[in-house]
Symmetry: C2
Subunit: 176 residues, 2 copies
Amino acid sequence: MEERTVKSKLIHRGKILTLRVDEVILPNGKRATREIVEHPGAVAAVPLLVDGKVILVRQFRKPVEEVIYEIPAGRLEPKEDPRRCMERELEEEIGYRARKLKKLLSYYPSPGFSAEIIHIFLATDLDKREQKLEKDEFLEPVTLEFEEALRMIEDGRIKDSKTIIGLLLTENLSSG
Amino acid sequence: MEERTVKSKLIHRGKILTLRVDEVILPNGKRATREIVEHPGAVAAVPLLVDGKVILVRQFRKPVEEVIYEIPAGRLEPKEDPRRCMERELEEEIGYRARKLKKLLSYYPSPGFSAEIIHIFLATDLDKREQKLEKDEFLEPVTLEFEEALRMIEDGRIKDSKTIIGLLLTENLSSG
């Protein structure tokens, strides 16, 4: 089933993503083009407080022109360790230090055109610190009952893949 | 929190995606750039047989250079009805006609840089037809016990967002 690359053309090297177009040989010997977004990968975590509440962040996302709910997350720097990155993002975005980060899984949000991989953690044993957003970063933490967050998936108020996957896996862990 | 667009530059108009770079005004009045992948959206469905088995497809995905497991899915044509598109894709990819398509949810795989939205269905009351792949499409249907598919999420063999979300939601429906 593999597709061998015979030509690769860089279209755009940007701040957060790179677009290239590959020419490939299909299993039947024919040629086809593949548009591919390169991405450094990302981390995300479900921050679960001792009282069972979960902390999400509200953030405007230009591609969808909407303020949406997400779990705290961040883009990896090249070669950065996912756990270190996640610890930093939790402090920056919601002002908590996680003493425990349990890896839930790694997944491809959109493998048809994007190489992005997202590593999801469950963050517990949270110690309150100060939120310290990067300059030009605008987001608002929201603390919710876990059951309410699950209802928000059902009724469509939560639409982000990492948030849906992180919350559903956390529910499965606690119920089984 | 909104970001107002002051300039938009088309970088690439491709077969399956378009890349543009927007210049925006942040809530603090400063300017920033946003790299945005435009995408027509997609549909996906969890095909559940009467014996409780589920049908996945194995497919090579160039961006991640891997043969991965996915639920049947397809890209929407402009203005196409998601249900019609899903019915067609189920016949093409796995050779089944679904008499029942229940909408599970719509989600954003990667709203930080991509406008793509994926609509997920549960497909039941399946009638066997002939698989009729489009030319130059290479994928292999695999029928699995539902519990085995869930284990494949846990142990990392299933990594695709629509597949993880579709299977976990289907599990939730059947368990309560």
